[in-house]
Symmetry: C2
Subunit: 692 residues, 2 copies
Amino acid sequence: MESNKTSQEQKPKVGSIKNKIVAQDLEEERKKANFDIKELTESYFGGKEKLEQHNDHISVMENDPILRNTEKWYDMTREEQIEHNFKRARRTYEINKEKYYHNYEVSYIPWFSAMFQGIFPFGLTMSMFSLCIQQLGDDEQVAKWLPLVKQMKMIGCYAQTELGHGSNVAVILEQVQYFQGLETTATFDKEKDEFILNSPTITSTKFWPGELGKFGGWAVVYAKMIINGKNHGVQPFMLQMRDTETYETLPGIECGDIGPKFGYASKDNGYLILKNVRIPRSNLLQRYVNVDREGHFTIKGDLRSLYSVMMFIRVSIAIGAAKTLGVALTIGTRYAVVRRQFSTQDGTKIERKLLDYQTHQFKYTPLLAYTYAFNFTSLALMEMHQQLLKDMKTGNFGLLDLAHHLSSGYKASYTRICYDGIDTIRQSCGGAGFLAWSGLPTLQTDYAPNTTFEGDNTVMHQQSARLILKTIKNIQRGFKPTGIFDYFNKFEELLSKKGQVKGSADLLCLVNLENALAVRSAFKIKTTAMKMATSQLSENEKANSAFSVDMVSMAHAHIMYVTFKYFLNHIENHPYKCPKVKENLKNLARVYALTELLQDSVSLYETGFFTVGNAQHLLEAQKEAIAIVRPQMIPLVEALAVPDSYIVSAIGNSYGDIYETQLEWAKNSKLNQTSVLPGIKEHILPILHGKL
Amino acid sequence: MESNKTSQEQKPKVGSIKNKIVAQDLEEERKKANFDIKELTESYFGGKEKLEQHNDHISVMENDPILRNTEKWYDMTREEQIEHNFKRARRTYEINKEKYYHNYEVSYIPWFSAMFQGIFPFGLTMSMFSLCIQQLGDDEQVAKWLPLVKQMKMIGCYAQTELGHGSNVAVILEQVQYFQGLETTATFDKEKDEFILNSPTITSTKFWPGELGKFGGWAVVYAKMIINGKNHGVQPFMLQMRDTETYETLPGIECGDIGPKFGYASKDNGYLILKNVRIPRSNLLQRYVNVDREGHFTIKGDLRSLYSVMMFIRVSIAIGAAKTLGVALTIGTRYAVVRRQFSTQDGTKIERKLLDYQTHQFKYTPLLAYTYAFNFTSLALMEMHQQLLKDMKTGNFGLLDLAHHLSSGYKASYTRICYDGIDTIRQSCGGAGFLAWSGLPTLQTDYAPNTTFEGDNTVMHQQSARLILKTIKNIQRGFKPTGIFDYFNKFEELLSKKGQVKGSADLLCLVNLENALAVRSAFKIKTTAMKMATSQLSENEKANSAFSVDMVSMAHAHIMYVTFKYFLNHIENHPYKCPKVKENLKNLARVYALTELLQDSVSLYETGFFTVGNAQHLLEAQKEAIAIVRPQMIPLVEALAVPDSYIVSAIGNSYGDIYETQLEWAKNSKLNQTSVLPGIKEHILPILHGKL
């Protein structure tokens, strides 16, 4: 065993936040940038204006001593986090009032959510609660309640799910059936002109709504409306839960927090038990339904409009997937170019950067490719959704099916990849990623609900599959689909296509890659549709028992192809001035497609698109594509513009300070406020002293 | 919208712990058992005797008011959990002393670890610390320290990793090189006959060792031994850190907890900074090395023995993977037969059981197959390891390479599948799985370190790959491998084999499935070995840069094949009396193999084992195999014998009580001890009242 003094001396300096020193390795990686980072950042945010707004929000958060994110957060109990965030919520209210109040709904959410550590207390009030009033209330109700919500004089939540009934959104768009199975009742008392709300069973307990437990004073409660013993289906009612002066719960209302969770520690997801709670008839949200003084029930307008509320959340979730994966990548990639492990470089004892291990690159580069792809696709979906909202006002529901198809599919595919990606990154940082100071544990656990809430991903893929199958049926009836379904017109051509792949170069060609993804999707769609068409089973059995795995797999393959198309479309059509920006995005598009094919290319062997030998070409192509991206990894990750003040990471900050701050935060953490922990003297020392 | 009264009335009753009622659905599933559950349970535990011992441990834990696990645990702060577990540690000491003391090392660990909620405080003392003394101490040191450890008069830890240096176990067995890069120094002071321990840099701070922060009074510290300015490599030293009377740290020692983490909340992973700490020369653990009074350094014996310590941990981790996955399955499967969602059954409005959705079955059945396979394989590895320990005492290291190969490979493949499996199960329970009361969040986060500690999984797969590549080289030199490498002798035959798969039935045949897995592994090994043999790159570049993804993929395929072989071997050779036990295990073996092939069968298309159409046959076969297992899911899961007292789950208990207890625990949880939370009056009411 020899001395390794030499290697110690030459080891590149890591960063120091305290001394404002940037790690040598990180600095060198930055110098490799071959493109206009600013231009890419602007397009990533959806335009210069949006980026400037975002930067403005960041500077507000960073410069405010109450709002500024802190590593102490990781070490707080739930109670402390919640109280801390009440304080911050108040501060956002103050700032919002003086600075952003010009357009409350649009501007408030982005400015804090861009930066807020933990789950923002007013989150539900400002999204679901406010949307419900706007979308489900009639003009009078909107005029009465919305201003109060805007002024934060009503803090509310969205009380739909029950202990026995999840976000049971069995939306068959042709036949809107919300909230099957909900058990809470709203019985009309004609005499007093009131509804009486009740939770008749344990399973009817409202369970899970955010801000229901402790924070919300109001709730939009979904309950089965019963008039004269007749059930008129589940309808939304406005309910005041707490006294405005004392904030104690009102009579007949029992509510509270549901307890500790995997993540979302600072959110008071709650339960609510109702016992003969009376509300005026006018508290029925009545844009689409009406109950008159005599108890006559009528439906007004098109119930499909209701669906837009839920869809908005899914569109936001799709955008959030890209953004969150970008945060994890920022932390992990910086760590991977500063942290070195094992002397495995020829001619030197200096350890190798994590990111210079092929296995590490194979984890990170695909995730970066997904981030850019998902971001641009989601921005396009957001535009489509806004168009839909406009159209619906004139009774045009033309975009509804497509927006439902995409928002369900994106939600399912993107959130799974994002969640798994954060976990991969966390694990790739070893112990440092397991430690809260990295920022990754909280990022992962707070992101976790995205795969299951607002429609479980498996159900969402099945929802997304519906329009695919419907389109196939329509084609058989002579329909010619366009847009993202355009490729359905040429299934025969696709399924007989030969890839002619003779080497890795053939798989670095974007046209070939697009074809490959189209063929894969076409094959899955065709075989699934065929099996379902020829099966003698009932529709229920086909969709839930016999072919549901086929449907999920098909929907995912289709969504990943569509995403690729939109991504290429963005690259081709966005007016980038710097040609290298386009080139880098194209390189990422290659990695995207190759990642997909490396995971699942059996369909291509089945159709004959791939032949013997192509598996090796595929792997070689990915190695080459990843090697091309490697020098641009740090610039491409930092183009996502995630500020230090947001990530609060002792290993992924912009200084490449991966040790000093970690140790400092550790030293200052809670358990170290006492030298000898409570319980040692009472329980452990007697053992040590042989006195037990 | 119609009334769904009818369906409400017919809905099967869920369970109630309070009223000792078992859910109707769960009861019916249990009745379907077609095999001798007890016989399977016994073999799962490695024999009747071990099962009885295990049950004995369970009853001790269940019946002791201090030791009994509680749902309160999920709602405790780190400080509370740690203090609570000090109390319980004391109680285990008392019970152990009176009941189990006959064989301390062997019996203590299994009896508490089988049942203990959170991470046991004495865990490191009794494993790594105790093992170090036994393995690294000379006879005199063992005689001096081991009895004290056994009596718990020395509580210690294993201080190896540093802030800048992970569990850097670059073990090249041919040339043992431990702990590359560690920076802590132990400088010999000849005059005083002492070593002086120092942490010369920030990165040399000992970081991560369990029980180092607050609990351990002693540590085995790894430090670079310097005598007369010469570096003699990293060696282990015994260090007292805390005063036995007061438990305050001794002069020159700064240590503490490293902070909050993703999981392991109750474990005090710590840091340690040493400043001129003097220890006697005799504190060098000197079974394999010696420094005499004059400072002369000598090496004694075979350093490979050291490796057995680390290997023992990996073998335990492999067994732990199966056991932990079994816990998650117990919770999730029970929930999936009681929880019903969506009216998707023909002829009834009663909602469908989660487990009657094909997508749900495709998640659960493979995980159950892995659980049984990993368990039986790990038990065999444990036997091999014990043989190795015996052999080594007589200087026979024959089994070392193989045991290293298997323990690294199992560790990497099994822990990844187990961790991902827990996560899949947690997500499949939707909101209920996200809530701590399910037991799943803690299970997942406390299991999480397994994929990264004791050798990161990527590195472990690369380690495991070494013996594969070495064996290939040896074959070229005329060597004929046996045992698990037997199939290497017939690569040519395997790679030209045709599967002759004409329908799903051909893929339900175990011989065909074994061939398929062998072909897949053979193809990957052959292509990787060939590419590496013909490459002109240096060994470093080949292993870390050019072909490391190939190596990882190859090692995994090989390990999964070997596991299948061992699993089949167990089924064939274990003297089961009930033929249905064998039949059920065979059904699970089919699911195991089909799951593997559905994930990755490209190699089979490449070799021609699979031909066009086989993808559909494969999926059909899996659907059939899973459908066969479906009625036995609950009996097969409950044969794993996971007691309610261990899982502490409000959704996965043996009563099928999935609602009542959940709500009760929620109501009693911490945040609900106050009606109006601190901060509401100060920060929120002023907003509500328009006073801000």
